[in-house]
């Protein structure tokens, strides 16, 4: 039997959050953490968590699994269980709505702030805008972000200033558009980032890199943004 400890909080009932212990028979199989949650929800329908694609591409089920942020659907028990115990908490740093569901509006607000869309006001050609494979390769490691918030909620700078520091996820996306040969708003984008908080609160702690379930590297992207800022200023 596997011991599972889960963070519980229902604002309608509970004065404050608590950890609830469950036991589950996994029959020794190396299933995913999400499978465990699904099984537990059959027993206890009041257990609440988000999930959708169950294959690590939609970003719904980001949570703190045995101390590390990750996606429940692609985290096997063999990685998450320590001493026959699995501890599941919501992603840290943002308000909890209920159980493992957090209020991500602050996270999304930072994403929206970087103007996460292509800006190119030159007349569009009748076909696609051409882009060489080399130029396109610059977007690899950037466009794959699934907005799961594992990185930003692992970042102390984001914990302290979630309203001012854009956070690793938003900055990765900021660089995704800065790096796109088709985007023409580079100067405007850089100007919007050149304050002491938006980018420069990154202190290179690299928690984001450690937890990203897609293996992306926001710290590196932030470094690129900084270099672009330096170059544009000189």
């Amino acid at each position: 039997m596997l011991n599972v400890s889960i963070y519980r909080y229902n604002p309608e009932v509970d004065q404050e959050p608590y950890m609830q212990d469950f036991q589950i028979d996994t029959q020794g199989k190396d299933i995913m953490v999400l499978d465990v949650l699904e099984k537990l929800k059959v027993e206890d329908p009041t257990l609440v968590f988000r999930r959708s694609c169950r294959e690590g591409v939609c970003g719904s089920d980001g949570m703190n699994i045995s101390g590390k942020n990750g996606l429940a659907c692609v985290t096997p028990l063999s990685e998450a269980v320590k001493k026959n115990k699995l501890v599941i908490r919501p992603l840290p740093g943002l308000p909890v709505i209920r159980d493992l569901v957090i209020d991500m509006s602050q996270f999304y607000a930072q994403y929206e702030k970087i103007q996460p869309y292509m800006i190119n006001n030159t007349p569009a050609p009748a076909i696609e805008r051409l882009q060489s494979p080399e130029e396109r390769a610059k977007l690899d490691g950037l466009y794959e972000c699934i907005l799961c918030a594992c990185c930003s909620t692992a970042c102390p700078s984001f914990w302290w200033n979630p309203d001012k520091f854009i956070g690793p996820s938003g900055l990765l996306q900021a660089y995704r558009f800065l790096a796109d040969s088709r985007d023409t708003a580079t100067e405007e984008r850089l100007a919007n980032l050149d304050d002491p908080f938006s980018v420069f609160r990154c202190h290179g702690i690299m928690n984001c890199v450690q937890v990203c379930p897609k293996g992306l590297n926001p710290t590196k992207a932030i470094g690129h943004i900084r270099n672009m800022l330096v170059r544009s200023a000189t």
């Binding site: 059959v42 169950r54 294959e55 690590g56 591409v57 396109r136 466009y143 699934i146 907005l147 796109d180």
Partner: protein, 590 residues
Amino acid sequence: MANIRTMSFDAVIVGGGGSGMRAALQLAQSGYKTAVITKVFPTRSHTVSAQGGITCAIASDDPNDQWQWHMYDTIKGSDYIGDQEAIEYMCQTGPEAIFELEHMGLPFSRTEEGRIYQRPFGGQSKDFGNGGQAARTCAAADRTGHALLHTLYQGNLKNETTFLNEWFAVDIVKNADNAVVGVVAINIETGETVYVKTKATVFATGGAGRIYASTTNAHICTGDGIGMALRAGFPVQDIEMWQFHPTGIHGAGTLVTEGCRGEGGYLVNKDGERFMERYAPNAKDLAGRDVVARSMVLEILEGRGCGPDGDHVYLKLDHLGEETLNAKLPGILELSRTFAHADPVKEPIPVVPTCHYMMGGIPTNVNGQALTIDSEGNDQVIEGFYACGEAACVSVHGANRLGGNSLLDLVVFGRASGMFIEQQLREGVDLKDASEADIEAAMAGLNRLNDSTGGENAAVLRAELQTIMQNYFGVFRRGDFMQEGIAKLAALRPRIENVALGDKSNAFNTSRIEALELQNLFEVAEATAITAEARTESRGAHARDDFKERDDENWLCHSVFFPDDKRVGKRGVNFTLKTREAFEPKIRTY
């Protein structure tokens, strides 16, 4: 009790996936007050899981490519019950829709010339089947759906669409004229129930793959739009047509893109034989999906399956080399390592045909207007009601969808619906307001669930439903078996209508949502079962042991399921092309 808050919009789109967001984008750009009701944050929608690409004749891989060839492939793929007018519209408009997406920033992979990279997919040919394999599927590595969905969300952010994120539409509100004037929806976070009033209700609610036990579909693919439409008394079309994708990861059900075979991968049985050469000598592993899936099941049934239980076959990719795999199929490497514990660089992936796509849905015309059929058998537009994407059956897929055509379907018809509604709104839409009683009627199901006291666990009932569908309505079907399945479903209905609500709280109550989803799943399953039993032929994805041949005399038509009397009717297939004479049905071989 009907004293609920009303929110008003010019247009409301239910569903924040690819087609819903494409429609919303069109309307938001036009300046009309548009809202998207979506039960998950938009980028969590199932479009995100599409991998291989979006098929369209943009003439990048082959400068001489023609949309007419794509049209021919699609009609042939549909086993001739795809509406030719709709297919013509899709293939012809496609390039424009793709270039728009590119201009919006979709990070397509590129060719040396800087154009969009295209890869071969199943069922693709040049020169109307005479020029060999074509490469027509536009790709962003093997994450095309993800790239597409995020790009569309970004476009909507830019145009300031209103998003009702994590809201769940419960039922359709109809006025005295039987026109659709909005939906009742729940804000999942607070539990508040609201009447969302609008002049145009667009259902872009996606598929319902979760009616089967083994599916590539996300947990959220529960056919909510189909369930709502059926409960409102509106018919669905070709709902028996379910595509089984040849390559779902054995055990997990996770999708492995057809692009793997497009890039040169192939299937082998336990003897290491490339068996598709026997079933489809020309196209081999790139035959239509229905053909490949059936061949795989036959291999397994005839004892040539792999693994200790002989219940799957292998997809071989290692001969492509690590570099190609990393460049072209990075997502597949990740998925296979995670879910199959197999590294495709070194070993084959265990795969099995898995429920993937609902070809049927709410019948619509090319403008996205939902249709019903009157007593004389004529199409009749349902005022105020639209559908696009997988939930709709504009019928570009007929009895079998070609790989890469779903993404094209959703952008082309999401866009078309948006453009048409824009025009309607400009001309003025005059629908009677819903009465208290009308709203009350739409609340009935939810109220009954909220007041429920006894009943069985939703998860248990759902599993039972999925098992029935898997066992009786799978890749191969047989009349007596299906009748048994229908009887089992009939016995299940009262139990599902009486499902227990184990959590009555208002704060982010996912149990309530799952109970409502279960009822939607059931409606889809029942319609599927009854229609499948009625179609006494084999066509496309619908393969019957007791009627092995295609029967063009009786069944070269759409099936239409009417929920009120659970009757299966027929509707003619459109054989009118604007640009040339229609393609007549031929025997379909690959």
